[in-house]
């Protein structure tokens, strides 16, 4: 919601119908007073003096970015409180978290808020990604900020991943065991190529992540450091750059049509302040209320010889877990890396600027989005249906080479189909934006579907169940 006061002076000259009240104070003095209010206050200084009215449209931004900022603050504050009572050692971690829940006054609520805020952060950072993509807000000089945003998305996911090793309960232990073995699954590829002996990338990544072959004290120390120092600092710096870029890029994206361009900018103070305070109040109210009813789970203490059955990660990683259950390397490394590569490359492939600030790039884009969503639904559901009803390669050809298991599974086949579909849409429409919309939509719909399958349709031994 920031605006760069590009031609402030010029505008204030032409702006004779401003919001200044008539009276003894001249309009010009009034304006100066407001500008001083903003420029001499650190918190208001994050914003520019004037803001374009389009940036304040609730149905354009939904206030998602501001919500994320506040959630991050809540995470820092509650995190510091939790740190007062937490002991990062294999022997003491579980009991210290138990103490936080049952002994420390208010500890349960603080922990619930921390966990709820992290869940909301993952959810809202995802929605924020959708918002910026579907409004075409990555082009028109905003390429760098989009890339920074994608990095922040990854950092938020890593923060939550590193956070759930800390309680050292069953979920912690097995989720991180699985996670670190996903990193090690590069071995699946190097084994097939027969080069693991010379270039054990998987083993290197695993040792880098957890400081050994199995999850133990080294892993806990590392994850504690990542969770409380490295990742929050990274996110803090990136948040600063992200906000700063918004101003450098001339405020939030908006359509280039005549009506919007001619609209007069408004003073940020106090409009933006009220809007943001309202969002802050809403966020805090929701968090505090929910914290009394939604308990952060704490399972039994980690037991390295008996996994939970089924061993499920938090809901937002179950889509990846579903992919991983087809092939560790393809689902855990290959497909996510391809997806991230695609996200990073979007603003450099699609340089069409006529769609900036329009939801779904107008009716044509909306049609492309719907078609891609339907196509993705069909492709995913069909494959999962085949898999559940008839099995997959290993059931048909026992002893089939691992190459086939790695290369042909619902994860890789979906990626291939989506990519071909996007190329086709691009050819047909002659627009990189439409092609990007098709691929993005298909990928997101598939991710949501795989997540839904992981949450509700997988039971003991990761077998398919109808609505577990």
């Amino acid at each position: 919601m920031e605006e760069r006061p590009k031609n402030n002076r010029q505008q204030s000259k032409t702006d004779q119908t401003g919001t200044a009240p008539s009276g003894t104070v001249s309009a010009d003095q009034y304006r100066r007073k407001r500008i001083r209010r903003v420029t001499q206050n650190f918190f208001l200084h994050i914003h520019s003096t004037r803001v374009h009215p389009h940036a304040l449209k609730p149905t354009y931004t939904f206030g998602l970015g501001v919500m994320l900022g506040f959630l991050f603050l809540v995470m820092i504050l509650t995190g510091v409180l939790l740190m007062l009572h937490y002991t990062p050692s294999v022997d003491a971690a579980y009991n210290s978290v138990k103490d936080i829940v049952h002994v420390v006054p208010g500890g349960r609520i603080i922990r619930n808020i921390h966990r709820l805020a992290s869940n909301f952060m993952v959810l809202i950072v995802f929605l924020h990604l959708l918002r910026t993509f579907y409004t075409g807000s990555y082009s028109g000089g905003r390429q760098l900020n989009w890339v920074i945003g994608v990095v922040m998305f990854v950092v938020v996911l890593l923060m939550s991943f590193s956070g759930y090793l800390l309680p050292w309960d069953q979920l912690s232990y097995w989720a991180v065991t699985i996670g670190s073995n996903i990193a090690a699954s590069a071995r699946e590829l190097t084994d097939l190529l027969g080069i693991t002996r010379f270039a054990d990338i998987g083993g290197f990544l695993q040792r880098l992540l957890i400081g050994g072959e199995t999850v133990g004290q080294a892993a806990l120390t590392r994850f504690f450091m990542l969770h409380v120092i490295f990742l929050p600092l990274t996110l803090l710096v990136l948040t600063g750059v992200h906000f700063w870029r918004i101003r450098k890029d001339g405020g939030l994206s908006r359509p280039n049509d005549e009506v919007t361009v001619k609209q007069e900018k408004l003073y940020s103070w106090p409009l933006v302040m009220w809007a943001e305070l309202a969002i802050l109040a809403g966020v805090l109210a929701v968090l505090v209320l929910l914290a009394f009813f939604v308990e952060a789970p704490l399972l039994e203490q980690a037991n390295p010889s008996l996994p939970e059955n089924p061993a499920k990660s938090p809901w937002y990683f179950l889509g990846i877990q579903e992919l991983v259950s087809y092939s560790a390397f393809a689902g855990g490394l290959l497909v996510p890396v391809l997806f991230l590569y695609f996200l990073f490359s979007i603003p450099y492939r699609d340089r069409e600027e006529e769609y900036i600030g329009q939801w779904f790039s107008g009716s044509k884009g909306l049609k492309v989005t719907w078609k891609a969503a339907l196509m993705s639904l069909l492709v995913v559901v069909l494959q999962v249906f085949v898999m559940v009803r008839f099995g997959w390669l290993r059931d048909w050809f026992p002893g089939i080479s691992q190459w086939f298991v790695l290369l042909f599974n619902p994860a890789t086949i979906s990626v291939l189909v989506f990519a071909l579909y996007a190329v086709w849409v691009g050819r047909k429409s002659g627009s990189a934006r439409m092609s990007a919309m098709a691929l993005f939509t298909a990928a997101i719909v598939a991710l949501i579907l795989f997540t839904v399958i992981g949450i509700w349709f997988r039971g003991a031994n990761w077998e398919f169940v109808a609505g577990g």
Partner: protein
């Protein structure tokens, strides 16, 4: 080539080599494991393992199987993502992502990329069985015929 360019090239090359080497040694710091105790483990005496039973050894995460002909040891760690497999009537099954292994540890279904490994067993002078997890053995091989 001018002397200036030559010096520039040499120094850039030297600096990059030094940088790469420093980088590697720096990364090594993060991947340095604690001095290992080796991968040989004393798991107990023969009499500790009931006949015709797969006994789970918690610390090493292996199953030790004993029948009237001898003992064998198989890894209990799923080759997919490291969960502990469960013993079933006719093989092993992983609770995390449903990989199934046969009686001999071969992959029957699911995402596991490789078979479960069987290890060589030695007998220490004091009679304790030692599983050597550095050395794999064929699934059928039985040690210490009695």
């Amino acid at each position: 080539m001018q002397r200036r360019n030559f010096i520039r090239k040499i120094s850039v090359t030297l600096a990059s080599v030094a940088g790469v080497l420093t980088g590697i040694s720096f990364l090594k710091q993060f991947t340095h494991g604690r001095a290992g105790s080796g991968r040989k483990a004393r798991v107990g005496r023969l009499a500790d393992f009931p006949v015709d039973t797969y006994t789970f050894v918690e610390e090493q995460k292996i199953f030790v199987y004993r029948d009237h002909e001898g003992v064998r040891a198989v890894s209990a760690v799923c080759t997919h993502l490291g969960c502990i497999v469960l013993r079933t009537a006719d093989g092993f099954e992983c609770p995390c992502h449903g990989s199934c292994y046969s009686e001999t540890g071969d992959v029957l279904a699911g995402p596991a990329p490789a078979a479960l490994e069987w290890y060589r067993i030695e007998k220490a002078p004091d009679g304790v069985l030692v599983v050597d997890m550095n050395e794999t053995a064929p699934a059928e091989e039985k040690f210490y015929l009695t």
